[in-house]
Amino acid sequence: MVVVKIKPLSEILKNLRGFKKIAIFGCELGSARCKNGGLKEALQLKNSLEKEGFEVISVKSPGGTCILEKVSKPLLEIEKGCEVVISLACGAGTQVIAENTNLPVITGVSTLFIGAEKEGKYFDEYCIACGDCIISDTGGICPVARCPKSLVNGPCGGAINGKCEVDSSIPCIWYKIAERLEGLQKLEVLRERAPFKDYRLAVYPRKLEVEETT
């Protein structure tokens, strides 16, 4: 999922200067899952904003704000009587909203990363969308995203007691890769030198065109 973090109220308020009537959009697909921008947080924001004297005329949280058909109807409903939209969806969802309304749109979150959830509480970055996936060779664990140096041929010499030199609160991901591959008796795959990565595949903005099938 795309992981987002809700912005401090003070920052949201700064962007609301000059507005009075507000619609809030959350997103049940990503933002809700990481508890930083679903319906619950949208309603909390509504309360906070009303205490500040704003008039919140609508709170919606579709399942998938980046999917036009999910937001087109809710967007039509707020066109009248609303001055500004606050989106708690990720960067993609917020832009889909902005592209499909004449109202100004401000974001109430910062989009962080593509991540995975643990215990409903911890979210870790698992993928940087490099466009050239190698995890079949690394035990299903991505060193490109989960090693700060994105090393593809094995660990650097900097891990201390199995912890990453960059952040001692995270493990060196190559320990996990070693453990996994040893368990699968597949260490052999790492004896081959990894090819140079093709970073053209990571040059944004990227696009995907789905071919029509007959």
């Binding site: 090393l151 094995g154 010499g157 201390i160 030199e165 030198r193």
Partner: protein
Amino acid sequence: MNFSEKLKNGKFIITAEIAPPRGTDWKSVIKGIEPLKGKVDAFNITDNQRSMVRMSSLVMAKFLLDYGFDPILQLTCRDRNRIALQSDLLGAAALGVKNICLMTGDFTSLGDEPKAKPVFDVDSVQLIEIAKILESGKLLNGKEVKGKLEFTVGAVYNPFAGPKVLQEIKLKKKIDAGASFIQTQPIYDVKVAEEVNDLVEEFGAVPIIGLLPIKSLKMANFMKSLNPSSVPDKLIEGLEKAMDPAQYGWDYIIDIAHAVLEFGRGIHFMLVGKTQELANFIDYLRNDSPYNHRF
């Protein structure tokens, strides 16, 4: 015989490490290593080590050449993409810098420009491959390189980093890719030095054992924080008891150096001060030690 020739001829090698200045005063660096002229075979020039800004290692390497020293240019993947790395390697070859030591590099945020963008376009194994591709007369993209270049390529190995099995696989990849010498992180245990020596030789490169004299208990604890298993308890205890910890630390690594001379191929002094003492020690090794025939 220069560093590269000694490497090929199986002679015992002594290298030492110096850092370019944090500024432009390269002359004091040259002056500092003057006592080691003709004694240390080659000097590693660190590349913004610990991600701290210093003068370009390539420029410093050229100054060493001009003053009659043999440099080993260190180059990290941290600050350059494959275009810049190839460009610097071509420049090194053109300047006559033949020895290179290629490594990943410490992470950006650990140094004194923590907000800098890390690069890591390629890794250390791939950087070695790049050097070998350039030697073959081509760029990585297959285009022809005008003019010949030849490197003596080295790499690094930290015997205290893990996971052990992957570190060893990576070491072998580096050697298979073309590293002909391997310099290690500081080792304070003869047994570890011997194991590393054997491992590197088995994989087909010349091991050069890293030694860094410990000057104080504070420094020992710092080393321990970087690499807990690298600093043995007996070294800590010795430093605690010593009247002169700096002397103790020096004597300690000299003992290891003696041992390495028996079974090993080379020593890499990551020297902090003690230049004259090192010069005297090398004189002793070359002239009076029972192993002087190996130099």
